[in-house]
């Protein structure tokens, strides 16, 4: 529903060159790049860039597993990447075409090797945590000054949610994020792989679902920024983008992001090249362009997500590199957890659970 | 003992079934019925005759209740029916298109009106059977309208409109969709049924032959007005105007100036170099008044020699012959170019007929053969 194709190619064509130019098609998350980088890429390489966006891993995976998506670069999250590699959806990177690979951060590469052993198929784009986006003033009005805005109890305790319902709560429409969080809240292993444990998340989610205004994975950025909702369980950078938009609009809305103190999911969005990419050569050029230290820093400065690029750190703005919500301290990192993909049968239990949570049936 | 002639219109004491009193109907600026007054009597078979657009269909729709008069009064059996809606009138109509309900069988079509009355089942069944028998449709009771012929449909429409035993039955061009043979047979059937049921029929037609055949009286209409109302023979023999004379049958019209003679005789000066004509007039004419002599072709004699003692005789030559089998019509051109039609029965075989093209002939007629009209 949120596809807007940036036809920068058309703008360039107006400049005079109408020849059949080389083309790279990129499929990335919505609100996930500084669009000036896209123009810069076209100017530097002369390659036309078609840039489409999605807002759910499931939609991307459907396209990947159907095959023939026509994209040259896609950006799945680690868990999904792992499964799609197994399905044979991606091609190995030709590292000789990626000189900027040396810029990458070994700490992050170690972590991403969990999904992509040897980092053979992918490079990290951004990473972050899933947590609580809070409209501080409104939540204080509803729950008082001592509201647990850094705890999962804010969104999983029905007593809190009942009160918050009046000012609006959004949840991510992503079972792979919400179910582990619910398990974490009740003290279960968030990376549980058995159906029985996963089923325990149902009661937690069902208890609060009547108070959730919407399950959606991108609308909450604007909703938070406009003051339409007061809490979103969402992705760190998205919440920080909302914070900035509110500040720009100067509408009196103050947004804060908190990784839950019980532990937050740490995720990695990985750039990979589909096995059937029409222009793998151009795809490598795009990857190398993004891995340029200055370019990567520009992206992070824009979207408020941490990246896996060590060299970029010297170009990062102070409010990015210095914000523990983006680049958490060593201490916090210990408290973060990661998850791995479910197998097909467990997946069905999880998705069914999620349908039930969303529809109430 | 003389047979009692059915002529209630000649009896001043007779109460009419229908009375139109100064009825006017306008559609916007168009005047469909212009201040019309007319009586129709019980058991009459009354024909409204005229060209399309003369107002005859509007008359019928006024009677059925589908239109209300702009001014004036319509009475049925002494009661003003203008405010009565169509479904409350003891009047039924047989539509030009028959308007049979295509989703109902013949039986159900005939029973439709009776069911609306809430008639008991036994009585209803009997009545429908009676109607089927009257119109000889017993075998088709179970069929749908699209499964029977045009003539049969016409009879279903008739049966349906008669089933409720209306005081007045309106027939809108009832035979228009039938071919000539079937039409003629049906005309007699209609008359038969009208006589059997004793219902008053008002028929609208543009076919003068049909009107003449079936009707007890004919009203000739033009531009929203009735020009003449009379029995068919009188309409034919004594039309009151050139319009009526011309509309009904074939006629020769000779225009001239009147010169009254003694005893209703009028001399007509009509063309240079032609002898004046003489006619017995039924109305007075002033000297020099424009008048029209209407004379039917069959009343004009055609002879080779000038007939002795004829009131009127003119000479010409045969311009054309229309052979119609039983009769022939001769178109005779006079020396001034006027064409007069004369008709004679073909009592002899064709080879022995006396006249042929370009033959010089005499046309003659008596003073009483034609009608002298002022308009």
């Amino acid at each position: 529903m949120h596809r807007h194709t940036l036809t920068l190619a058309a703008a360039l064509a107006l400049g005079g060159t109408l020849a059949m130019a080389e083309e790279v098609r990129v499929y990335n998350w919505s609100d996930y790049i500084d669009e000036e980088l896209l123009t810069k890429f076209q100017e530097e390489t002369g390659i036309d860039l078609v840039y489409d966006v999605f807002d759910s891993n499931e939609v991307l995976e459907t396209k990947m597993l159907a095959g023939g998506s026509g994209y040259d670069v896609v950006v799945p999250t680690g868990t999904f990447l792992q499964r799609q590699i197994q399905a044979g959806a991606f091609q190995k990177l030709d590292k000789s075409k990626l000189p900027n690979l040396s810029n990458m951060w070994d700490v992050i590469m170690e972590r991403t090797a969990q999904y992509d052993p040897g980092n053979e198929y992918s490079v990290n784009y951004m990473w972050g945590t899933t947590g609580l986006g809070v409209n501080t003033k409104k939540v204080a009005e509803v729950l008082g000054e001592n509201a647990p805005i850094d705890s999962l109890a804010l969104v999983f305790d029905p007593a809190n949610m009942e009160k918050l319902a009046s000012c609006g709560v959004h949840f991510l429409d992503a079972p792979t994020e919400m179910i582990p969080a619910a398990l974490k809240y009740i003290g279960e292993n968030p990376d549980a792989q058995d159906a029985e444990t996963i089923a325990k998340a149902e009661a937690v989610l069902m208890a609060v679902r009547p108070y959730v205004q919407k399950f959606h994975s991108s609308e909450y950025i604007n909703a938070l920024a406009n003051g339409d909702i007061c809490v979103a369980f969402g992705w760190s950078g998205d919440v920080l983008q909302a914070r900035d938009r509110a500040a720009e609009a100067d509408n009196g809305v103050e947004i804060a992001y908190n990784a839950p103190k019980e532990g937050a999911l740490m995720w990695f969005d990985m750039m990979a090249i589909p096995a059937d990419a029409p222009n793998p050569d151009g795809a490598h050029k795009f990857l190398n362009f993004i891995m340029d230290a200055q370019n990567m820093a520009a992206a992070s400065n824009y979207v408020y997500y941490a990246n896996g690029n060590k060299a970029s750190q010297e170009f990062l703005a102070e409010d990015v590199i210095g914000d523990p919500a983006i680049y958490p301290s060593e201490e916090t990192v210990k408290n973060l957890y990661t998850v791995s993909p479910w197998d097909a049968k467990v997946q069905r239990v999880a998705t069914r659970l999620w349908t039930k949570v969303k529809s109430g049936t | 003992m003389a047979v009692k002639v059915f002529a209630p219109w000649d009896n001043p004491d007779e109460k009419p079934l229908i009375r139109f009193e100064n009825v006017t109907k306008k559609f916007g600026d168009f005047v469909a019925i212009d201040n019309l007054t007319l009586d129709i009597f019980e058991r009459e078979f009354f024909a409204l005759l005229g060209p399309s657009g003369c107002g005859k269909t509007t008359m019928m729709r006024l009677l059925a209740g589908f239109e209300a008069p702009t001014s004036g009064k319509i009475e049925l059996g002494g009661q003003n029916i203008v405010p009565v809606p169509p479904n409350k009138r003891a009047v039924n109509m047989m539509f030009q298109s028959y308007a049979l309900f295509p989703h109902l069988t013949v039986w159900e079509n005939i029973a439709f009106g009776l069911k609306r009355e809430g008639m008991e089942k036994d009585k209803l069944n009997a009545r429908v059977e009676q109607m089927l028998k009257l119109t000889r449709l017993e075998r088709f009771a179970k069929r749908k309208p699209h499964q029977i012929s045009g003539g049969q449909r016409q009879r279903v429409a008739l049966a349906r409109s008669l089933a409720k035993a209306p005081k007045l039955l309106l027939l809108d061009e009832p035979l228009g969709a039938l071919d000539k043979k079937l039409r003629e047979a049906t005309q007699f059937e209609l008359m038969d049924i009208q006589e059997k049921t004793g219902t008053t029929f008002v028929i609208v037609t543009h076919d003068q032959e049909e009107a003449m055949t079936v009707a007890s009286r004919v009203a000739v209409m033009d531009e929203g007005q009735i020009i003449q109302v009379a029995t068919p023979d009188r309409i034919y023999e004594t039309p009151n105007s050139v319009y009526v004379a011309d509309f009904i049958g074939d006629v020769n019209i000779v225009e001239g100036k009147a010169a009254p003679l003694e005893e209703n005789q009028v001399r007509i000066d009509w063309a240079e170099g032609q002898p004046p004509l003489v006619c017995t007039a039924t109305q007075p004419f002033d000297p020099g008044q424009t008048c029209y002599l209407a004379i039917r072709p069959e009343k004009v004699m055609i002879t080779a020699e000038r007939p002795e003692g004829a009131d009127n005789a003119v000479q010409g030559k045969i311009h054309d012959i229309a052979y119609l089998g039983n009769i022939s019509t001769y178109h005779v051109q006079l020396s001034n170019g006027t064409i007069i039609k004369a008709q004679s029965a073909n009592t002899r075989r064709i080879a022995r007929r006396s006249f042929t093209w370009e033959d010089p002939v005499w046309l003659s007629w008596t003073a009483t053969a034609g009608v002298l009209l002022a308009r």
């Binding site: 759910s56 499931e58 939609v59 995976e61 459907t62 990947m64 597993l65 159907a66 095959g67 499964r83 799609q84 197994q86 399905a87 044979g88 959806a89 679902r209 919407k214 399950f215 096995a275 097909a344 997946q347 069905r348 998705t351 069914r352 349908t355 039930k356 969303k358 529809s359 109430g360 049936t361 | 059925a64 209740g65 589908f66 809606p85 169509p86 479904n87 009047v91 039924n92 109509m93 539509f95 030009q96 298109s97 308007a99 309900f101 295509p102 989703h103 439709f112 009106g113 609306r116 009355e117 699209h146 349906r160 409109s161 409720k164």
Partner: protein
């Protein structure tokens, strides 16, 4: 030879565009979900042969449909929504069609145009427009608050009411046009005949107009009911999380859950449910054609 070709073309069309895809869907519905491209097994291969391939197919997904109440509740939910919205569309569409058919001749082309005009805009855009109209801060609530009819904004968007409004709006032309064409063909003297035979305006309408527009009503109802049953755009945009419609479930199974075999099983069952009304519709059409001959 020409005869053969005449028959072969429509049958070839049917085979290529309906039967072949349908059998592919049936085959997928008998497969198992897997992490592969495409995301199900078994894949047919010439080496293992057709025997092994067939042995791996099973009805597990259909069994699964019966074990989870979500599915039959969604089928029932869709049926209820489709039936109610078809009925409401008829209720609104009939007077519109009637008005059009009785309008002066010179107006009819314009009225017809007005009915067809919305098709010039994308369906999706029109449904998005309804989101703007029906939301809490939307035009409808603003208008009602302004007139003073309500003091609190009504929650219509994301409820079943919004789904009904969307379906009725989107499918109204499919109801109006066949009824209009039936009424337009009707001889108005039939109504006069009925009145002449003792019917009031209202009884004439019930006894003559309605039965004679029956075929139009049936065609209109099917044209609304069949797509409404499988509708997924309207419930997913206008409906709430509580709106259970099988089209939405199918979409989620396919797209969010990536469970193609189960999604195919849902689709096959939906088609079987639709076969009954479609066959009835066909028979009605045939009867109508016979009646016209």
């Amino acid at each position: 030879m020409r005869r053969f070709l005449l028959i072969a073309i429509p049958f070839g069309w049917l085979l290529a565009l309906f039967l072949v895809p349908f059998f592919i869907v049936v085959k997928i519905s008998l497969s198992d979900v897997a992490v592969s491209i495409p995301p199900y097994v078994p894949q047919f291969s010439w080496e293992t042969g057709i025997g092994t391939f067939l042995r791996d197919l099973d009805f597990e997904n259909f069994v699964f449909l019966t074990t989870d109440s979500l599915y039959w509740k969604s089928y029932v939910g869709s049926l209820v929504i489709a039936v109610i919205s078809t009925f409401l569309t008829l209720l609104i569409g009939y007077p519109i069609a009637y008005g059009m058919a009785r309008a002066p001749e010179e107006w009819r082309a314009t009225l017809m145009m007005l009915i067809i005009l919305p098709f010039w805009t994308s369906f999706l855009i029109r449904i998005y427009a309804w989101m703007g109209i029906l939301s809490r801060e939307g035009l409808l609530n603003q208008f009602l608050m302004w007139t003073g009819v309500i003091s609190e904004p009504l929650t219509i968007l994301n409820t079943n009411y919004a789904v009904y409004i969307g379906i009725i709006y989107a499918y109204l032309p499919f109801m109006v046009l066949p009824i209009y064409s039936a009424l337009d063909r009707m001889d108005t003297s039939l109504i006069e005949a009925a009145e002449d035979l003792g019917c009031s305006r209202l009884t004439a309408f019930w006894l003559v107009t309605v039965p004679l527009s029956r075929n139009g009503i049936i065609a209109g109802c099917f044209l609304v009911f069949i797509p409404a049953l499988g509708e997924f755009v309207i419930p997913s945009l206008l409906g709430g999380s509580g709106t259970l419609m099988i089209g939405k479930v199918l979409w989620e199974e396919f797209s969010s859950n990536r469970d193609w075999p189960l999604a195919s099983a849902v689709a096959v069952v939906l088609l079987l449910i639709l076969v009954v009304p479609i066959v009835l519709f066909q028979r009605n059409q045939q009867k109508q054609q016979e009646a016209e001959q």
